[in-house]
């Protein structure tokens, strides 16, 4: 059953000359799944999640959350969702508990029920002991956890997390990823945006890959990887002439795509890495350059993105 249905979303900022942030995006999220939007910065992930959060109105298209239109019934939608914004959105001069109480009231909670739920959430995010400390005394990871906790107070049916692991330590990141899995196990449908391939791969039941405002692929991890067939990703670093070499490699037989060079680093997709590798060494030698590093990898989401866009995810 589709819990969230997105159809032809389009959003342009500062029309008519401003950038088109989202251009005809469509996808569906099923009840109880974790769906990740994967893409580099500027792909349109945050704009999409903002429209689904009723923060922005689409220029055209619509999205329905549990059957309610984000354009026409935003108040109904807002009661069903919990939104974890990309940046920490808390009141730093309030304590962790005061913040949760405040956000709980904003979701219409009050009294003993609110207090009890705040206790539960503090336990869930592991901050019971520090609940009375002001948020500006918390570490980055602790703030992230409160940031997530504030979206869980009203037990939302849908949880949106917009790049919740940006800029935090590995331990906090692990904690958040495990938490997302737990929320999902508890029945919450999760929409997760990230530009970290590993996170999308680990968490998601299905993944939507976005680039420059367009949804370029949607599917399970296996389905997406299958799109690039048996290709192998070859990751090279050369000491000079990277641009000329990349141009030359594009014409080699069996090379599906070649990335734009960056600091001497070039990625390419090869149908038969065993045959191609000697040719790569020869071409490098012919230009008087040297390969300082070479890596062969099985296809993954990075490979898929490279295959579909000709650019690396982090470009």
């Amino acid at each position: 059953m589709d819990a969230i249905v997105v159809e032809g979303l389009r959003k342009q900022f500062d029309p008519p000359k401003g950038p088109v942030a989202v251009d005809g995006v469509s996808f569906q999220i099923q009840e109880g799944e974790i769906f990740s939007l994967l893409g580099p910065n500027g792909a349109g992930k945050t704009t999409t999640i903002s429209i689904l959060s009723c923060l922005l109105k689409p220029d055209s298209g619509d999205a329905r959350v549990a059957g309610f239109s984000v354009s026409r019934e935003p108040e109904r939608v807002k009661g069903l969702i919990g939104v974890v914004p990309q940046d920490i959105a808390l009141y730093e001069d309030l304590s962790g508990r005061e913040n949760l109480l405040f956000w709980g009231r904003m979701y219409g909670m009050s009294g003993a029920a609110l207090n009890s739920r705040v206790d539960e959430v503090l336990e869930l995010i592991g901050l019971t002991d520090r609940q009375k400390d002001r948020v500006d005394k918390y570490s980055g990871g602790m703030k992230r956890r409160v940031n997530i906790g504030a979206a869980l107070l009203h037990k939302p049916r849908f949880l949106y997390l917009d790049e919740p692991t940006v800029g935090i330590d590995p331990q906090s990141r692990r904690s958040i990823l495990d938490g997302v899995k737990d929320f999902n196990a508890g029945g919450v449908t999760v929409l997760y945006t990230t530009h970290y391939m590993e996170e999308a791969q680990e968490l998601s039941h299905r993944i939507g890959i976005m680039d420059r405002g367009i949804m370029i692929a949607v599917g399970t991890h296996a389905e997406l990887v299958k799109m690039v067939g048996e290709q192998t990703r070859v990751d090279l670093v050369v000491d000079r002439e990277a641009g000329a070499l990349a141009e030359r490699w594009r014409s080699f037989p069996g090379v599906a795509s070649v990335s734009e060079p960056e600091d001497g680093r070039v990625w390419l997709l090869a149908e038969d890495a065993n045959t191609l590798t000697p040719l790569l060494f020869d071409s490098v030698r012919a230009l008087g350059a040297r390969i300082t590093k070479i890596d062969l990898a099985e296809p993954n989401l990075e490979t898929v993105f490279l295959h579909l866009t000709g650019r690396a995810l982090r470009d």
Binding site: E75, V83, D87, A89, L94, W103, Y107, G108
Partner: protein
């Protein structure tokens, strides 16, 4: 309920901000205290008595005639002038000038030896001299000399003039001016007495009286009668009054409370602006966007922010009014009008601050624009000149500002007015508030639609 939650959160935020509190509460109190002290913290404007040394060299014009110098010296030391002049007699002009040069006195009054003789000398009467100018021939004058030069005044040229000199400390302005005015008044009395004596003698002579002794006696009596009449009080007095609007139960407020009203309204604008800026701050911090993802309608969220701005300035004004009562002994007036005017002040300050913030995109921009507008309004509204002595074009211009109307209302209350005096200011500030709130709402809705 949600709006009040937001308002309460915002209000707490402001009162946890020490710098903001200092600006909102401490600054107006400190300024009012300083200005109140400078202009007299008590009931009225007051300055200390001017230390004045007097040297009287006039021995009189002869037996049986009054000594003009003694009369002038006596007038300066009269009990009625004790609050203005602290008079000390010295023997010589040099001693008097030395006292001024050493800073022991603010002014010296040097009465020349020939003052009585000059007054009694025969000759046509002339017009009275003006302070600070050379004397006309045949009469007493009051030249003023700066102590820095160390010189005495030169007598009027080409005539037996008698000059009462004032030797003053050049660094002082008000004190010597008071001394000059008092001496001038005394000299005018002497000249008047002289004119009365001369006129009576001429009238008697024209009536056939030729005995010099009787003529002198008659002139002396005429002069004495004039002097007594002058001291008893003038039959014609000048009474300058400002127009009043309606009857008042008149009261004289102290200077500090008058200053505090202007400062309170001025800093209420800043207090409101500081609080209103939280909308921009929350927008930048992402909490406003997060609020918009909750089921709370945007109108409720912005309404909560509005309420917070109003509450903050209301609390600020109540604290300042109480502090004024406590520290300055201010009598703000009847409770009802005071409450209404305070509410109006909070409303108009909140609405104006919100309007200013609705234009701004960054906190820095908001601070700069708001400050410029508030200072301009305070200048033309009269916040820095107190609530009295405002008239003419200025009184008209200030009515184009909400703070000007508020000050007018407070002026009425401070001077003993009540409902009748504040009705128009209340109506005007409410009108300003409605317009400001409406415009701010339009701009905010456009921004956060």
């Amino acid at each position: 309920m949600r709006a009040l939650t937001i308002a309460w959160k915002d209000t707490r935020h402001v009162y946890r901000n020490v710098a903001g509190l200092a600006m909102m509460l401490l600054a107006p109190l400190v300024l009012s205290t300083a200005l109140g002290a400078a202009f007299g913290g008590g009931g009225n404007f007051s300055i200390p008595a001017v230390k004045t040394v007097v040297v009287n060299q006039d021995a009189g014009a002869g037996a049986g005639t009054p000594a003009a110098g003694a009369a002038l010296a006596s007038a300066l030391a009269s009990p009625g002038l004790k609050a203005l002049l602290a008079v000390t007699q010295v023997d010589t002009p040099e001693a008097a000038r030395t006292a001024v040069d050493n800073g022991d006195a603010g002014a010296a009054v040097i009465i020349p030896a020939g003052l009585s003789t000059a007054l009694m000398a025969a000759g046509a009467p002339t017009q009275g001299g003006a302070p600070g100018q050379g004397s006309a021939p045949g009469q007493a004058g009051v030249p003023t000399q700066g102590g820095a030069s160390g010189q005495t005044g030169a007598p009027g040229q080409g005539a037996p003039a008698a000059e009462v000199q004032i030797y003053k400390d050049p660094t002082l302005t008000i004190g010597p001016a008071i001394v000059a005015a008092v001496v001038q008044s005394g000299v005018q009395t002497l000249n008047g007495a002289w004119a009365a004596a001369l006129t009576s003698a001429q009238l008697a002579a024209s009536a056939g009286l030729t005995d010099p002794t009787r003529l002198t006696d008659l002139a002396t009596k005429a002069a004495a009668t004039f002097s007594q009449a002058a001291q008893a009080g003038a039959p014609v007095v000048l009474d300058a009054r400002a127009p009043t609007t309606g009857a008042r139960n008149h009261r004289d407020p102290n200077v500090a409370s008058q200053v505090l009203v202007g400062m309170m309204i001025f800093f209420m604008l800043f207090g409101a602006s500081t609080q209103a800026r939280s909308i921009i701050d929350e927008h930048r911090q992402g909490t406003l966007s997060r609020l918009f993802t909750t089921p709370a309608p945007r109108s409720v969220i912005l309404g909560g922010k509005y309420v917070a701005v109003f509450l903050v300035v209301l609390i600020q004004s109540v604290i300042l009014l109480l502090a004024g009562r406590l520290f300055f002994g201010a009598h703000w007036g009847a409770m009802g009008p005071v409450i209404v005017l305070t509410l109006c002040g909070a409303l108009v300050a909140a609405s104006l601050a919100l309007l200013m913030i609705s234009f701004a995109k960054t906190p820095a921009q908001a601070g700069a624009v708001s400050s410029a507008v508030f200072v301009f309004l305070a200048l033309i509204g009269g916040n820095f000149v107190g609530t009295v002595n405002v008239g003419g074009t200025f009184a008209l211009i200030r009515r184009f500002t909400p703070n000007g109307w508020l000050l007018e209302g407070w002026d009425h209350l401070l001077f003993g007015g009540s409902w009748d005096g504040i009705a128009l200011p209340v109506a005007a500030t409410l009108a300003f508030s409605v317009v400001f709130f409406a415009l701010a709402t339009v701009f905010f809705r456009r921004r956060y639609a």
